[in-house]
């Protein structure tokens, strides 16, 4: 698909917005001091990373063995970091909640990974990947970080190939590329529809090699439940052994969170069941700022909800939109009919109608919102769930006519099979039904250029941090970021911090350690003693409904304020009425979920406050109050070209907002338009 036409920000910020006087979130937050990234280097953008690597102090190989690093998470961001830091000779402890590091949610990524290799000689370059990523993020990401991401992207492919990652190849034996997610160059490397799996297995194997070498100790089925800070620095974690229930103390010189995204705050999402915010949220409560938490990516091509039992949603690759046509019936009366009986003239190919130049290939957020609008109008299809039909057709009939059934099979067979397995319907005969679902969060813990949070000694990588994708992420860029952070960025920046070592030994009976351990035990005891009437899942589902309704594809001031009230009420009820059976001393999945849901309540409230504060539409964040006359998103750079970094102010206080201004020196800000 082509790049959108662009108009300058000045042209676009016409009517509608009144001088930036709005403070929708007044009363919900306290303004704080501005935030600056103290590590961001100056100078030409293409030299910044080289300079920073040179300036970051080195650690003598003989001293590395004396320095310890905790890494929470074994997805692409965590496994790659653990392997690399182990190879460098540090003492690493690696944690994951699954029974094996290979099962981290990165395994589920389908489409591919970007890299500016320019193997196709089609005009790609580091600068173009940088440009596309900043623009795709709707100018809400940090320029220096994104440039570095594009710069190291090429090393990732080399590393993965050397590890034996079986990327798709051409007949000549060289790597194949495809174009992905609406960019004009082919820079996406892929391994059929299982790119995440293959990349993660590569990183997992490198990690296991270090386990065997004795540099990394692996703690599977361990859940981090608290961060230990001493004198303001991160010095360890409290983790629960999920099999024995033991509450363990792990101390170290530095802590890395690579704990993934928090899309499960919506209950239904394409994330794995266990994805959670607990590691990040506990750090947030200890002083790490949370940045742009409301920036959520909603993916248009997921399999719709089939009933109230639904536990998760399944993504189908966006590539389906290349050949499938999306439509709903023109008349509400037809919504129950067999779609094959609805004649052509009674179908509304709404994306092709509203966006004639991009049609079915408009960006994810636009396609998602349009589908929601159709269903809100009562023209959705498929089963009614809670009174509404939430689905639109994705029709391959025309593609089958054009390419033949074989042609379609060759391109999409595994996806169409998956669809049939889940829905029981044959997509070669009946149009598929799709609906948007929460897929990825751009928001996360605030980090500086070194990937260090506002807590010294706490670093954050992968989806858990906020820095590279702004208000919207390009397809195939999350895998790139996770591996960039873990293999090529963190190992350099963390050494500058570790060069201050050796650090003071911490005893397990240090008051701050005891306090952290006791607070974890207290929380667990509380959940087990409430003995109320409602299951954890029922609260989670209700919270998810609130988030989806009011903090999902379209957000408004009234809706968000309502959501905040609802969440506060529900959270209160949860602490008084939740029912968690079993004991703390055994494997107890309800107890695990209770801790996660408790943190999701607090996160959900902050997401709503963040969304309320940002009275502009940008990327995946659409504020009903900020749209053009024909319903398109309107960004307001004068007022909101900043990162909203939120500080936890205590249980009974409102959060503090720190703003990091975004300055672009290598790129000009433009408003997007897809009409």
């Amino acid at each position: 698909m082509d790049m959108p036409d662009t108009v300058t920000a000045a042209e676009a910020s016409h009517s509608g917005f009144l001088d930036g006087d709005y403070d929708d979130a007044a009363g919900y937050y306290t303004p704080g001091a501005p935030l600056v990234d103290s590590k961001a280097p100056d100078g030409p953008i293409s030299e910044r990373w080289q300079n920073r690597k040179f300036e970051a102090r080195l650690v003598n190989p003989a001293n590395r063995r004396k320095l310890s690093i905790i890494i929470v998470g074994t997805g692409l961001a965590g496994a790659s970091a653990a392997a690399t830091l182990g190879e460098a000779g540090y003492r690493v402890k690696s944690f994951c909640y699954q029974d094996s590091p290979r099962r981290a949610h990165s395994i589920a990524a389908q489409g591919g990974i970007n890299a500016a290799k320019n193997y196709k000689e089609d005009g790609d370059s580091v600068h173009r990947l940088f440009y596309d990523t900043v623009k795709g993020g709707d100018y809400r990401s940090r320029e220096s970080n994104v440039y570095r991401l594009a710069e190291v992207s090429t090393n990732i492919i080399d590393q993965c190939v050397a590890q034996g990652v079986p990327f798709a190849r051409e007949y000549g034996g060289l790597l194949d590329n495809r174009s992905f997610g609406g960019v004009q160059v082919s820079r996406t490397f892929y391994a059929r529809g299982q790119t995440g799996q293959q990349l993660l297995i590569g990183a997992y194997q490198a990690l296991e090699r270090q386990v065997a070498a004795g540099t990394v100790s692996m703690y599977t089925r361990h859940e981090m439940l608290e961060l230990i800070t001493i004198d303001g620095k991160a010095r360890g974690i409290i983790a629960r052994d999920m099999v024995t229930g033991e509450i363990e103390t792990h101390l170290a010189d530095v802590v890395v969170l690579a704990s993934g995204g928090y899309g499960n705050v919506f209950y239904l999402s394409t994330n794995a069941m266990g994805c959670n915010v607990t590691a990040a949220w506990r750090a947030h409560r200890k002083g790490a700022y949370m940045a742009n938490p409301c920036f959520t990516q909603i993916h248009p091509t997921c399999i719709p909800v089939s009933g109230e039992h639904q536990s998760k949603l399944t993504l189908m690759s966006e590539s389906l939109r290349n050949d499938g046509r999306i439509w709903v019936p023109k008349n509400q009366a037809d919504c129950e009919k067999d779609p094959r009986d609805i004649p052509e003239e009674d179908r509304d190919y709404f994306l092709e109608r509203i966006y004639p130049s991009f049609g079915n290939l408009v960006p994810r957020d636009i396609a998602s919102r349009a589908a929601k609008n159709m269903c809100d109008e009562g023209r959705g299809v498929g089963p009614e769930v809670e009174g509404v039909r939430r689905g639109v057709y994705l029709d391959f009939a025309a593609a089958i006519e054009r390419l033949g059934r074989d042609g379609v099979e060759e391109k999409y067979d595994n996806l169409l099979d998956m669809y049939e397995r889940i829905t029981g319907e044959n997509p070669y005969e009946v149009p598929m039904r799709i609906y948007p679902a929460v897929h990825y969060v751009m928001g996360g813990l605030w980090v500086d250029y070194d990937l260090q949070s506002t807590i010294p000694g706490l670093f954050v990588t992968g989806e858990a941090n906020f820095s590279d994708h702004g208000a919207n992420r390009l397809g195939a860029s999350a895998l790139m970021q996770g591996l960039a952070d873990g293999y090529f960025v963190l190992p350099h920046t963390i050494r500058d911090y570790l060069a201050d070592g050796p650090f003071e030994e911490i005893a397990e009976d240090h008051p701050a350690v005891v306090e952290a351990r006791e607070s974890v035990k207290g929380r667990i005891d509380h959940f087990l003693s409430v003995n109320g009437t409602r299951s954890v899942d029922s609260y989670h589902r209700e919270l998810g409904n609130i988030m989806w309704e009011y903090c999902g594809m379209e957000r408004t001031e009234t809706g968000l304020k309502k959501a905040i009230d609802l969440i506060r009420g529900l959270k209160d009820d949860f602490y008084r009425n939740v029912k968690v059976l079993g004991s703390a001393e055994t494997l107890n999945q309800s107890l695990e979920k209770a801790g996660r849901v408790a943190d999701f309540f607090e996160l959900g409230e902050l997401m709503c406050i963040d969304a309320l504060n940002r009275r502009e539409s940008c990327g995946g964040h659409f504020r009903g109050e900020s749209q053009t006359e024909d319903g398109e998103a309107m960004r307001h750079d004068e007022e909101y070209a900043y990162v909203a970094a939120w500080e936890w102010a205590g249980e009974d206080s409102i959060p503090v907002l720190h703003k990091e201004d975004l300055v672009y020196t290598a790129i000009e800000m433009k408003q997007r338009s897809y009409k």
Binding site: T84, E87, D99, S100, P101, R102, R103, H105, I107, A108, N155, I157, D158, Q159, V161, A162, Q163, G164, P166, A168, R169, E170, Y171, G172, G173, A191, R192, Q197, Q198, I201, Q205, A206, E208, R209, V211, A212, M218, T220, V243, A272, M273, S306, G307, H309, Q310, S311, M418, R421, I422, T423, G424, Y487, F488, S535, D537, L581, G582, L587, Q589, S590
Partner: protein, 247 residues
């Protein structure tokens, strides 16, 4: 749909465990098998009985976390993972027996949850290519014939679920191991460590208490990723070659 469920319950690793019988009404054919268990767990929780522990994470057939013996079949009646099995594969009034993976090398931790960490320890013994971060050559410096790359990919899709072990009367992990040996052995990058890899992995496999392969083929029939039986021939071939090389 109405179902009778006979489910293995075991309080902990040392508990003896037993089959318990539950009734579940109102099961929708559109539910996944694990969603059906979620519904049962909600019912148990409401009645004051501790929910049944079972593993799952991605629920889309790729992480390998789920895995149940369903009426004696690993992952149930279809060629897929437990999480991708749907209730439309069963009929109204049916009795379904649900048990954990049964293998000496996969001890039960609780109810339907087993310990598969032996798989990680097998990988630690050579299921990798030794290349430190940053030391890799340019990716295009070594072309790989497309067919080799495809074959490597096809077997690299193993999700490490353990169904092959659960299905095997000998409790052998040869299919799992053969998939890894073949994946790395098909690629030029995997050659330098080819001999030591197979020897060390097989030694670990045996030390973990997995049984030997007697070519029954139950593993490949149960494998949700359809890893073919010939990876075991490849494994044996590589092992013989390594021994010939003096390993």
């Amino acid at each position: 749909m109405k179902l009778t469920l006979k489910i293995w319950r075991q309080a902990g690793p040392t508990d003896k465990g037993a089959i318990h019988t539950y009734q579940l009404d109102d099961v929708s054919p559109d539910m996944s098998f694990l969603e059906m268990l979620d519904v049962l767990n909600e019912q148990l929780n409401a009645e004051g009985e501790e929910p049944i522990a079972f593993d799952s994470d991605c629920r889309e057939g790729i992480c390998g976390m789920c895995g149940l013996m369903i009426n004696g079949d690993a992952h149930g009646p279809e060629v897929t993972t437990t999480c991708q099995l749907h209730m439309r594969s069963f009929s109204d009034g049916e009795t379904i027996t649900i048990e954990p993976w049964r293998s000496e090398a996969f001890p039960v931790l609780k109810d339907l949850v087993v310990d598969r960490s032996a798989f990680d320890r097998i990988i630690q013994q050579g299921g990798y290519i030794s290349v430190n971060t940053g030391s890799a050559p340019e990716a295009h410096s070594v072309p790989v014939p497309r067919d080799d790359a495809m074959r490597a990919f096809n077997v690299a899709t193993c999700i490490g679920c353990g169904a092959c072990v659960a299905a095997c009367p000998n409790g052998s992990a040869s299919l799992f191991m053969g998939a890894k040996i073949t994946h790395l052995g098909e690629l030029p990058q995997g050659q330098p460590e080819r001999d030591s890899r197979v020897v060390n992995m097989v030694a670990q496999h045996d030390a973990e208490g997995f049984g030997g392969c007697t070519n029954i083929g139950a593993c490949t029939a149960a494998c949700p990723k359809e890893i073919p039986l010939d990876v075991i021939s490849q494994l044996n071939k590589d092992l013989r070659t390594a021994i010939k090389h003096g390993h």
